[in-house]
Symmetry: C2
Subunit: 319 residues, 2 copies
């Protein structure tokens, strides 16, 4: 790319600094962190074919690239401050940049999270965002805090992104409206930032669901040295997913991935506080099980009967 083309790219992304002490345009961006607060940071790299399909609309890709990072802040209970964007593109494509930057910056504005720098280069399409937030030094939601007796909760609904992916892969057929709804879930996840903030001081542990509920919950269990019992059919599902065969529902909800909902645990006597936090954040939350002192995950149905092969059965989609 020529210098002129980089100037063009800068036009799509460069904005004056607001909260940052110094934004784009120097060797570094400078951020202030308030007294008593820690800087929370996370980075995610998105690659075509693995994190998004080549058919995704640029607006939605821009949204998703930031959303998956904001979701990490949400899972820590951190308040978004700023982000950097590194972008490799095979060629300068103004239509792509226009859509991508609009989707990206619309979500950034919605969360008061400003773009403070980055890097652009020619190369295979790759989007790498690093996000910065603030959280009280001793108040972050961690993966390691779950305790036996905690309820296990999840926000929103699970499994729609996986359902869309399987439809795109030709493994199942959805009608037009169902495909569009599940596709929107896959391509435009809503990071649960407000919920993460509201759960500070209430949740004992939290993580966001990027690789699938069972896989992500297992990180909480391992780091907390506990186990869990999950009621598999209590998983919150959209109407679209609920219209699928039960096996597909369970597979998508339990190990679908790309949900960007929060799974978290809280003491059983804090149910009212959890409900109030969810109400304040404008997000539904569902109790899906509880934490056990005994390690491992036990899946049960609505009648409390063990569901066999809770983990190992969830692989028939793999291509």
């Amino acid at each position: 790319m020529s210098l002129g083309e980089f100037d063009l790219i800068a036009r799509y992304f460069q904005r004056p600094a607001r909260r940052a002490l110094l934004g784009s345009g120097d060797d570094c961006a400078l951020l202030a962190v308030a007294p008593g607060m820690a800087l929370a940071t996370s980075t995610d790299m998105l690659v075509e074919g693995r994190h998004f399909l080549s058919t995704v609309r640029p607006e939605r890709l821009g949204h998703k690239a930031l959303a998956v990072n904001l979701s990490d802040l949400a899972a820590c209970g951190a308040n978004p401050l700023a982000f950097t964007l590194a972008l490799a593109m095979p060629r300068v494509d103004e239509a792509f940049l226009d859509g991508f930057s609009r989707g990206l910056l619309a979500l950034a504005d919605a969360h008061g999270c400003e773009l403070v720098g980055g890097d652009t280069t020619a190369g295979p399409l790759n989007v790498c965002i690093t996000v910065f937030g603030e959280v009280p030094r001793d108040g972050a939601l961690l993966r390691s805090g779950a305790r036996a007796g905690d309820d296990v909760w999840v926000s929103g609904t699970l499994g729609d992104a996986r359902l869309a992916l399987e439809a795109f892969r030709g493994h199942l057929v959805l009608d037009g409206a169902a495909l569009e709804a599940s596709r929107a879930a896959m391509e435009q996840p809503q990071p649960r930032v407000a919920l993460g903030l509201a759960l500070r001081g209430i949740a004992h542990s939290a993580i966001d669901v990027s690789d699938g509920l069972l896989g992500d919950l297992s990180h909480i269990l391992r780091l907390s040295g506990v186990g869990a019992t999950l009621e598999v059919d209590a998983m919150p599902r959209s109407a679209v997913l609920a219209a699928q065969p039960l096996a597909v529902q369970r597979e998508c909800a339990l190990s679908g991935g790309d949900d960007y909902e929060l799974v978290f645990t809280a003491a059983a006597d804090r149910r009212d506080a959890v409900a109030a936090a969810a109400r304040d954040a404008g997000v539904a939350v569902t109790r899906i099980g509880h934490i056990d002192a005994q390690e491992g995950v036990r899946c049960v149905d609505a009648q409390g009967r063990a569901v066999a092969q809770c983990f190992s059965s969830f692989d028939h989609f793999k291509s």
Copy 2:
């Protein structure tokens, strides 16, 4: 890549947190920023064929990927704290990971800069690092502070990386020792972190030389609203570059790129302070010109005669 392969990757990179409040393994890393300090951050993405050759040794690639980011902290006068690494690889290659992580972490340790998180994915090789440092809130070295009458200085030597690149491209021939020396400059740049710290309160402006001296200095001039006169043959050159024809010397030194030296300006009455800072940092610095109120760059030879086409003549290497 399978989960097992990701565990393998984690083994090469995961280390316990030292200064960070929380390192790898949760949704976010948590960093403390000292009172009165700002967090300085920068991100650089490296793509094969543009930022490194496919023949580079993995150790050197690991070194360079962090070095170019540390160089941005150096140019701001920031003290390194931590970094995140996002890495896309076509496949899990243990020999690559072993070398890459050794080169990366050796440089990280040398600068007390700890790896606090990241992301790995399958995809075309891409290395994206975001680095974090600390700098006094009002003490960062910026591009915008140059003043008429300032001296223009540069650290180390210029042009070796470009010389190596041109040899690899077959545009010129170097003997074995010369190729190895210039190749090391290209593949293992030394970020001038200590110099950047020592120049706080002395330099009026600074930038690191990544795209070529003239191009990078032009950012200082534009943001400071000034111009410069440069003595083209005063550019510090290695013995290897100094053995080349004068036209090659000038081209490599003035517009070579990939040098990761600091170019900075300071008041003419601070020459002793600059020399002391360089001595403390263990880096040579060379005065290469001065800042003018008149915009634009004027190149002169050792006799003060104008060198024509200072900018436009530097393109015969372009392929």
